[in-house]
């Protein structure tokens, strides 16, 4: 009877989780849906407490209270700019929970002599993927938080040694399935997983982190699926599958937006390729034309339609609020302002949207790449703030360019273009940008925050 109640509670929770994901399809319903999901979680946890296998409540209470104390600041105090590392960190937490449960279940089976081949397969998978995700996520966290050097760390034969290590893990797994009671192999799987997690994130540069974080999301989900298989717990399978699907979709979207193939990502070898040195693009070799802040402001103030293209430089300069103030001033004058959001603007999928929403920009003004690209031709001014590769027309026109084929924002179609840039240097990929030397383009050099504040002050006077 109790078992049925628990299962029904899980079913209810799973339904609410699915509805919550569905409600995330629109910003207007999203919040409500997630609150329902939180309610579902509460139901599932309360029902679990009825489980007859639980005989003492002291330790689980300790765990839950400690988790709550750690979780609250992770939810309420982390700034939105730190979102990517915050997510990476909690992937590590989730994976650690899955791994420890796997180890605990293995010990239990070992003790009671109840291990089957199937269960061992699931537990082995769980511990391998789980431990890999723990260290991988911690590495990603370290790089994003700049505790570790952000540049890719590579050495000769890296891919070969990684593959060998990975195969060693798989061999251990197979061995363990054949003879479930060989404890050293179980430990070896966990150890190899921990090592692989470190090694696959090592060669990946800071700018490629959105893909890594999404991919680790997927791995954490698969570890949860394996837990569900091992414990015969359907809600873990359902949630793990959702998590895995979400991570997979996001990694696909990111890899497409960053112009990398998916196999490239799966083997984690991508960081190494980008550093290919400066590549001469097009060879049009024009000069960048600088503009003063008051001239730029006049153009913005008397435009009808302006599209702002925010890049990571905007977030680095912490200039979101200044941008919103500038937009408010322009809108007061009747200028129609939109933001063009490239999928990889920011350090994780959708990061720029959150940063601008936090600054008070309404979501109707945040337009995705596919929807805004045809509207650049109607724009009087495109204002590029700290973006480079995502607006480089070479991605469309120059076959020899390393970023050829990458989806870009069609900024070059706008009637005129103002680019805010810190200096005359190249972007992180070292690729020349023809947009900056186009006759339609004027450059406003300087710190993004300062420049935008100047523009705001001048627009006010205009």
């Amino acid at each position: 009877m109790t078992a049925t109640i628990i299962q029904l509670a899980y079913l209810f929770a799973a339904a609410l989780f699915l509805l919550a994901l569905r409600s995330l399809g629109q910003p207007s319903t999203a919040r409500r849906g997630m609150q329902m999901a939180a309610f579902g979680m509460l139901i599932a946890v309360c029902a679990t407490l009825l489980d007859q296998r639980i005989v003492s409540y002291e330790w689980l209470a300790v765990g839950v209270i400690a988790g709550g104390i750690v979780g609250y600041p992770m939810g309420m105090w982390v700034p939105m700019t730190a979102m990517p590392q915050r997510i990476a960190f909690s992937h590590a937490f989730g994976a650690l929970a899955a791994t420890l449960v796997g180890v605990g279940e293995y010990l239990h089976g070992l003790h009671e002599h109840t291990l089957t081949h199937g269960q061992t397969l699931a537990l082995g998978f769980e511990v391998f993927l789980g431990s890999l995700t723990v260290t991988g996520s911690l590495m990603a966290f370290g790089k994003l938080q700049e505790l570790l050097p952000g540049a890719p760390i590579t050495f000769r034969g890296q891919n070969v040694s990684n593959l060998l290590l990975f195969s060693a893990g798989v061999v251990c797994l197979v061995w363990l399935v054949v003879s479930p009671y060989s404890v050293p192999f179980f430990i070896a799987i966990a150890a190899v997983g921990l090592l692989v997690g470190i090694l696959i994130v090592l060669p990946i540069g800071g700018a490629d982190m959105p893909v890594v974080v999404s991919l680790l999301n997927s791995y954490a989900g698969l570890a949860a699926v394996a837990t569900g298989f091992a414990l015969d717990n359907n809600i873990l399978i359902v949630v793990g599958a959702l998590d895995g699907a979400s991570g997979f979709i996001l990694s696909m979207a990111m890899s497409k937006a960053m112009n990398r193939s998916f196999t490239n990502i799966l083997f984690g070898a991508f960081g190494a390729e980008t550093g290919g040195g400066a590549v001469e693009a097009g060879g049009t070799g024009g000069e960048m034309v600088a503009i003063s802040a008051d001239d730029a402001a006049l153009r913005l103030a008397f435009a009808r339609r302006v599209i702002i293209v925010p890049g990571y430089g905007l977030a680095v300069a912490q200039a979101q609020h200044q941008v919103r103030e500038l937009v408010d001033l322009m809108e007061k004058r009747g200028v129609d302002v939109r933001f063009a959001i490239h999928p990889v603007a920011g350090r994780m999928p959708g990061h720029m949207n959150v940063l601008l929403a936090e600054a008070g920009v309404s979501y109707d003004k945040l337009v995705d790449m596919e929807d805004i690209n045809e509207r650049f031709a109607d724009a009087d001014v495109a204002l590029v703030v700290g973006a480079n590769d995502v607006v480089n027309p070479a991605a469309r026109t120059n076959r020899s360019s390393p970023i050829y084929g990458m989806p870009i924002l069609n900024v070059q179609d706008a009637r005129s273009i103002i680019v805010l840039k810190r200096g005359r240097g190249k972007g992180f990929s070292g690729v020349e940008n023809d947009l900056f030397v186009s006759p339609k383009t004027n450059m406003l050099f300087g710190d993004a925050k300062q420049s935008i504040m100047q523009l705001g002050a001048e627009v006010k006077l205009a």
């Binding site: 003492s56 420890l100 949630v239 309404s362 979501y363």
Partner: protein, 103 residues
């Protein structure tokens, strides 16, 4: 292969398919909240951790279970809170910001 394993595979397949369909429709606008949300939901491994922590099998199992329960709870609490905080920031244009701004 046992019949339980087959049922589990069915559940996995169907959940994966539904998840893929549902999540494909989420606009890039909400991809960061999506990630935070799946993170929070994946804290459901808490239910397994609770059983492990409370089952009194051995000291080691209890310790593992307690740590796992702590990690999972941190994800649940932190994940749902931060998702809610983020989603609260996404506002449509019609909402009056400070009242004074709109003509």
């Amino acid at each position: 292969m046992t019949s339980t394993a087959v049922i589990q595979l069915f559940v996995f397949l169907l959940a994966g398919f539904v998840g893929f369909q549902t999540i494909s429709r989420i606009p890039p606008l909400l991809h960061t909240p999506l990630m935070a949300a799946t993170n929070a939901i994946s804290g459901i491994s808490l239910v397994a951790a609770l059983v492990l922590a409370g089952a009194d099998q051995s000291l080691l199992s209890t310790v593992l279970g307690t740590v796992a329960a702590g990690c999972a709870t941190a994800n649940v609490v932190g994940g749902f809170l931060i998702t809610d905080r983020m989603l609260a920031m996404f506002k449509p244009a019609k909402v009056e910001r400070d009242g004074a701004h709109n003509q």
